[in-house]
Amino acid sequence: MSSTEFSVEIDHVSKHFGNFVAVDDVSLTVRRGEFFSLLGPSGCGKTTLLRMIGGFEIPTSGAIRVNGVDMTEVPVHKRPINMVFQAYALFPHLTVAENISFGFRYKNYPHAEYEQRIDKAVALVRMGGFEARYPSQLSGGQRQRVALARALALEPQVLLLDEPLGALDQKLRKEVQVELKNLQRKLGITFVFVTHDQEEALTMSDRIAVMNAGRVEQLDSSSQVFEYPQTEFVAQFMGASNFFSATVRGIAEGFLSLAMPDGDTFTVPDPGRVAAGESVRFVVRPEKLDLRSRDLSSHGIPSMAVTIEDRVYQGVSTVWVVTSSTGERFVIYEQNEKPFEERGKFAVGGTAYLCWSPRHTVLIRPEPAEIPPAAAASPLPHQAGAAPDA
């Protein structure tokens, strides 16, 4: 086995179903021992990509290497990979314990260890006591945990997980997340992880790839993806739905001076891809916006007069929805009741000033003109086709 730095290399891989392009010229590499997450809207091709790595789907074009070895010729059962299937794929005719121990013989585990290994896997997903049940006698979440345990028990070099915790409650999910992380540290397993839970992705992953309509929109460390989305799609997908337009006044010493439509100016670090006079779009995450009763623009802090439209209680935080005079809509998260912070309470229907720190201004690449869904199949490189779901 080669000792490349990369565990999984995906090289210009595409997958077509008839005319439909599910995965479109994706190239990426996953490092050895890395926790790598795939994020993206429903139907964007995450499962298809995982299935190609696992060998269940043959790429229409492109190559996949694992540990430096081209996988094209390697049959599924010889790949050093295990997968947790989105729909579980538990064997209906086998009990929980039998499902989990299914692959033991191919790993040449000694027979004497079977029980202990089953116990370990079962404990990991908190399924002790259910070993003798058949899948049909389990709840949805229990089935998912068995599917997870079955893959984990084999301690593969690469583990593909397709929404492995989606059916679990938050408490259990957190516990299992911790177990997964421990396992990864202990065994050095490479994880390729699909999840819809952003918090999960951010806390667990080393790097995240955000996919859209079969393509990778952004591949970065988890905090980068979250804090510095490069495209409007990524920004929006990551929940940063506050978009603003501004004009570049000037560039100096690594800083841009931006002017808002209402004339406010402020400076932000220069990402290095805009010219003076250009009009740009930027995004500010909702938890980084603040509502103030005074206009702070004179302090170099961007402020915008808004009307308060709605406030929604969300448990940990409250969500404020506001609209600007031009009808744009912005969302602000406010953590609920930090003690001792007195702040002007705003009423729905009232007005306020929307402020943010200039350093939380994230410039994004201009979005291409709307492309009809069919164009997802077109070979424009690195442009986000509109998702069929969008």
Binding site: M83, F85, P92, H93, G129, R133, P135, R150
Partner: protein
Amino acid sequence: MNLPAESPRVDLVPRPVGRLAPVPRPARPVSWERRLLATHSLLVYLFLYVPIVILILYSFNRSKQTAAWEGFTFNWYLRLFHNDLILRAVKNSLVVATITTVLATIIGTLAALALARGKFRGKGSTQAALYMPIIIPEIVIGAALVTFFGVVEMRLGLTTVVIAHVAFCISYVAIVVRARLAGFDRSLEEAANDLGAGPWDTFRRVTLPIILPGIVAGALLVFTISIDDYVITSFVAGVGATTLPIQIYSMLKVGVTPEVNAVSTLLLLLTVVLIAIAQRVQQEPTPKGGTKK
């Protein structure tokens, strides 16, 4: 005889496939349609067994003629035990049916797998070839086969009977198993592959247990066809290969005696005993709902 429960590893009736609906139902008030189904089934079984009861009854009839009941006798059984011809024919039939069932079931199942999954050139002609034995009248098959054996100088005997039976029983297995394979959840095989099982293990440990009801159904059909086949067998049987159906038909010329009823009765008895044993042995490890401390 090919009874269910031969295979020690796998249960013939696999447990319910991953359904959301939990399968062991509670003692729900028996609904009308269940009652209707049960009644219908009972009637069908009655329909199936009335002639069999008559057949058994007449194995004890003193008269050789089937028409009238002339009193009870064990005589036909005694005569049967001395009738080497019939006994040998029974033995031949059982041997042929068993070998045929095993071979045709294996070959037919393989063919079904290929047809259900594979995309290969010649699939269409394979399918056509598989339908032929069902479509073409047995007498044509028989005549064709015996001519063919003549051409290739293959001596007629039990071997030729088995070959003929296998050749035209493969189709039955293939068709039934093919039906079972339709809509098979491929992700289960993918999961097995994923867990390290090669093609053979995947088949043995996942596919086979799940399609087993289809295979069992096919095997039962084959055994049923083979043990009672007359037309084709009469063409291809050679020296020492007289099977029970041939024996019985040839008795037509001088009249079929209740010995035949007696033989059938004994075969039934044997079957029932074997099934009863199988039923005992099988004693499914019924999925016990969470017996948690």
